[in-house]
């Protein structure tokens, strides 16, 4: 927690992979489908299953996807997106240690594709609640996608974890970012903190 948090590398590839998945399934990244629509287009069967301990699970060599119906709709959407991205990476033979993080990033890009986010930004600006409604995803995902797509440096503070996106920036250590976001340390000059209204103990730390 003492080192400055690092950003996810290879964002260009991640955008390209997500757009490839969408186009491959016959969808337009500028007007993306819901993740359920995408799943139905690329998976043989999507089945709700109360009995699985995880959020989602592939069966029959990724022909069928079981989804835990107890998840909230937005959490469920993210789980499906993550699983579709993971399946895509597996088919590409990707075996990097960051496979989970990469699947999260591609999954987020499936939910909020770059071309669609740019369009929404031009129309309604950067307000997280509105963008979250437009894409039907959590404000945390919108925040991460804003950093990824616009390049504006930002740090999403989730309780005691920090995810950094956007151009390189001299961020304080992760521990200090947590303290700043939690109001236990003064906000340094040149930085602003925006609370996330749909999740407790989450905030976005941005460059002013």
């Amino acid at each position: 927690m003492s080192d400055p948090p690092s950003t996810l590398s290879g964002m260009d590839t991640i955008e390209a992979e997500a757009e490839g998945i969408l186009r491959g399934a016959g969808f337009d990244p500028e007007d993306p489908p819901t993740i359920e629509e995408l799943a139905h287009a690329v998976v043989e069967r999507v089945v709700p299953h109360h009995g699985i301990s995880s959020a989602a699970r592939w069966v029959g060599s990724t022909r069928e996807l079981w989804i835990n119906p107890r998840l909230s709709p937005r959490r469920r959407a993210f789980s499906i997106a993550h699983e579709l991205a993971e399946r895509h990476l597996s088919r590409l033979g990707y075996e990097g240690e960051d496979v989970e993080a990469r699947a999260n990033a591609i999954g987020a890009a499936l939910l909020v594709p770059a071309p669609a986010l740019r369009f929404a930004l031009r129309q309604i600006g950067r307000r997280l609640p509105e963008l979250s409604d437009v894409f039907d995803v959590s404000q945390s995902i919108v925040a991460l996608r804003l950093g990824e797509v616009t390049g504006s440096p930002l740090a999403l503070v989730m309780d005691h974890r920090v995810a950094v996106r956007g151009e390189p920036f001299a961020w304080p250590s992760a521990a200090r970012l947590v303290a700043i976001a939690g109001g236990r340390e003064a906000v340094p000059d040149g930085i602003v903190v925006e609370k996330i209204s749909d999740a407790r103990r989450r905030a976005v730390v941005k460059v002013a």
Partner: protein, 181 residues
């Protein structure tokens, strides 16, 4: 005591109403897992008509059917009727050696899992047609047991999710958000 109960139950030709209802419910879950009444009838060595009649309530399941169902699902006969935690008899199935090992381990542990949990996880295996690592199966058994204790399930996979409705175009959703702002 358990063996006495088992003997008593097997010796009578019909089941008590509560027992019959448990067998009927287990049969419904088995049909869901196997995909069709025909497949279940084949596994149990009975006619599809018998399966159909028990499921619809037109006839009550008998001891023979309950015994065959217990055998096919790898659940001890008495446990199938009681649903109580039990040390489960393992029916070895060459397709799922890891699952069998996990069931045996769970049965021998200080907190055995119930017959219903075993039945659920075995159905899960039949449906997915893959043998997970034993520790994963053990995780599933414990999860199923917790779900049963919390009265939250477990349940077999539901019907396939219907194709979702096409979402409104992005421009329309953005215009709506803009108006709200």
């Amino acid at each position: 005591m358990l063996s006495d109960m088992t003997t008593d139950r097997r010796s009578s030709k019909s089941l008590a109403p509560d027992d019959a209802e448990r067998v009927r419910a287990a049969l419904v879950r088995f049909v869901d897992a196997e995909g069709s009444q025909v497949a279940v009838a084949r596994r149990l060595g009975v006619t599809q008509q018998s399966v159909s009649q028990v499921i619809s309530g037109a006839s009550a399941p008998g001891v023979v059917l309950a015994s065959k169902l217990a055998s096919a699902t790898g659940v001890a006969f008495d446990a199938l009727l009681s649903g109580r935690p039990t040390t489960t008899r393992v029916v070895y199935d060459s397709r799922y050696p890891n699952l069998d090992a996990a069931i045996q381990f769970a049965g021998a542990s200080s907190s055995p899992v119930s017959a219903e949990a075993v039945e659920h996880v075995r159905s899960f295996a039949l449906k997915s047609a893959e043998d997970l690592p034993a520790e994963k199966w053990l995780e599933e058994l414990r999860y199923a047991e917790r779900s049963i204790r919390d009265r939250a399930g477990p349940q077999l996979p539901g019907r396939e999710m219907p194709a979702p409705e096409k979402r409104a175009p992005l421009a329309e959703r953005v215009a709506k958000a803009k108006a709200k702002k």
